[in-house]
Amino acid sequence: MTARAERIRASDQRPALWRRVLGSEHLAGWAFVTPAVVLIAVFFLIPIGWALLLSFQANNLLAPGHYIGLANYRALAKDPQFRSAIGHTIVYTVVFVPVSIIGALGLAVALDRRIRGISFYRLAVFVPLVTSTVATGIVFLWLLDPTFGVVNYLLHLVGLPQQKFLQDPNQAIYCIVAMTVWGWLGFDVIVFLAALQSIPQDLLEASEIDGAGKWATFRSVVFPLLGPATLFLVVWSTINALQLFDEIYVTTRGGPLGSTTVIVYYLYEQAFQFFNAGYGAAIAYVLFAAILVVTLLQLWIGRRRVYYVS
């Protein structure tokens, strides 16, 4: 075979360079991810960095700001209102998370059976999940109204004193807990139900034969196997609790007397009502750090005590 024929043969087998580049997996990969990467870069990555920069600035959202170093953070450390906001957020979180998880666990156990009407009960528990935070706030604003709300009326019927609820600085935050538990319970219940139903029937039967009653079986077999789901819900609920905003805006606007001003609401006030964008960005970063720390702590504790079934 001549050398020329060999060269022709060889080039038949390898496509032209331009075709190889365009057809290469690298190009294809990048082509596929580019839209997503651009969007996420513009609307996530850049803002993450920009927020950090903003936190080192004094900025009023209209004119470009100027750098003031760590002044925002130092101010935050001394800000009594911020400290109150942290306090309120902590109170909310510490009440909301256990109440919603324990309540959801109990509900999930109750809903995990075949009795008549069970699909109705399940539906009733899931429906509030679909309503918006705004709707929840509005409805509870009426339900808890001191003058004409139905809750006070029910208290009246059983002879208990009337409460001020959302208008009472000592009660307002707990009212917020109640309405957000109502709104979110269904989510936790669904997760728990899924976990309960993934426990093999065999294990429950074996436990029964081994002499354990229903409660002993729950304590020794079911609950430990719910570990991963519980951990997930604790982390998820905590993260969400720390970011509470919508319901506050719709109901109390941070009052009465600032008793429901949580961190994100304080951020909103500072950035978009007083136009201290730099201060707001600093608050956001502090919140970010807090969420990160709390989450990692929870995961660390959880990993050591939760058994994952493979």
């Binding site: 093999p200 034969i209 354990a212 020794s220 570990g227 058994y307």
Partner: protein
């Protein structure tokens, strides 16, 4: 004193299926009883009723002298090994073994003693600190048995405990189980679909089909004298060849095969010939022509497939086998014989197979019941 008694037990599920129908069974104290049958025959349901995981629709179940229909599983003093072992995945082997004893509030020292005793008996000592996920199938099986044994129950229930193990392990565990039973002497009810397990393990076997008891007896008796066509076709591997035949005036005919059987009334019959009973015909033996199709050498014997000069029928309830790839002659059913390698039948040759008259089984074609 009887160990476990089922008296006219019937179980109908809410959907309408009758899983167990008028099952009466007496298991002696300390006996190793096997419930065997194809899937769906009701054996597992029967076992679960003994355990208390299902309630009989009618009939009574007695453990010892006590009627236990309304007694919860906890209080029946039984232990069960599940097909998938049902080991608590979040507990170590040691805690798995200790679990039943802790539920019964046994003293800590006693728990420790019994756990170690059982662990030693089943060679689990090195595994006590491991979790089920870190164990092999055979090890998990032993833990499951250990957890059952640690309670020293009155009745030991096993639901296809060996079916998830590979063949070699299964053989080892079979011997292990037999040894264990010999040593401990606990009344055992063992469910399996594998007739080899049934034959090798059981003191008595109960063959079930469609929720009904087909035959009860020691393995050898069930093999030698099957009570009906179903048992005949189920016990024995490869299964018994079943031929369509008839009896007229004391003379039984099935295809070419002819024997004298005075005393058998005129009727349509099913004639059963076990593959192991078929041999190259010698003079005087009842025999029939056999066209060899496929020869499977097993080393110590040959499994020979082919067609007999007779019409074959399927055992009751069985589907006719799928058409084979070779589509041989369009006929659905083939006959099987077990022969010595020395006899060396050639594929596609025609030979004559004979059988001792005593080895010929006769069944009424209509009822399936054996005729002796």
């Amino acid at each position: 004193m009887p160990g476990v008694v089922l008296d006219e037990v019937r179980k109908v599920f809410p959907g309408g299926t009758t899983a167990v129908d008028q099952l009466s069974l007496e298991i002696d104290d300390g006996e190793f009883m096997i419930l065997v049958g194809p899937s769906g025959c009701g054996k597992t349901t029967a076992l679960r009723m003994i355990a208390g995981l299902e309630k009989p629709s009618t009939g009574t179940i007695r453990i010892g002298e006590r009627v236990v229909n309304d007694v919860s599983p906890r209080d029946r003093d039984i232990a069960m090994v599940f097909q998938n072992y049902a080991l608590y995945p979040h507990m170590t082997v040691q805690r798995n073994l200790a679990y039943p004893l802790r539920q019964q509030r046994v003293a800590k020292r006693e728990i420790s003693r019994r756990v170690h005793e059982v662990a030693e008996m089943l060679s689990l000592e090195d595994l006590l600190k491991r979790r089920p996920a870190q164990l092999s199938g055979g090890q998990r099986q032993r833990v499951a048995m250990g957890r059952a044994l640690v309670r020293e129950p009155k009745v030991f229930l096993l639901d296809e405990p060996l079916s998830n193990l590979d063949a070699k392990l299964r053989v080892q565990m079979r011997a292990g189980l037999k040894r264990l039973h010999g040593r401990l002497g606990i009344t055992t009810v063992y469910v399996t679909h594998d007739q080899v397990e049934a034959m090798t393990l059981g003191e008595r076997i109960a063959v079930l089909s469609d929720g009904r008891l087909q035959q009860l007896g020691p393995p050898q008796e069930v093999y030698d004298r099957p009570a009906n066509v179903f048992v005949a076709g189920f016990i024995g591997s490869p299964p018994m060849n079943l031929l369509r035949g008839s009896c007229r005036g004391g003379r039984v005919r099935a295809g070419e095969l002819e024997i004298e059987r005075p005393g058998v009334p005129d009727a349509d019959l099913i004639v059963g010939l076990r593959p192991e009973s078929l041999q190259l015909a010698t003079d005087g033996m009842p025999s029939l022509e056999f066209r060899v199709d496929v020869v499977e050498p097993l080393g110590d014997e040959l499994i020979v497939h082919g067609s007999l000069a007779a019409e074959l029928v399927a055992a009751s309830g069985e589907e006719p086998p799928e058409a084979t790839l070779s589509g041989a002659n369009g006929a659905g059913l083939e006959a099987v014989a077990r022969m010595s390698p020395r006899e060396r039948p050639a594929e596609r040759s025609v030979i004559r197979l004979g059988i001792e008259p005593a080895d010929i089984h006769l069944f009424d074609a209509r009822t399936g019941v054996a005729i002796r």
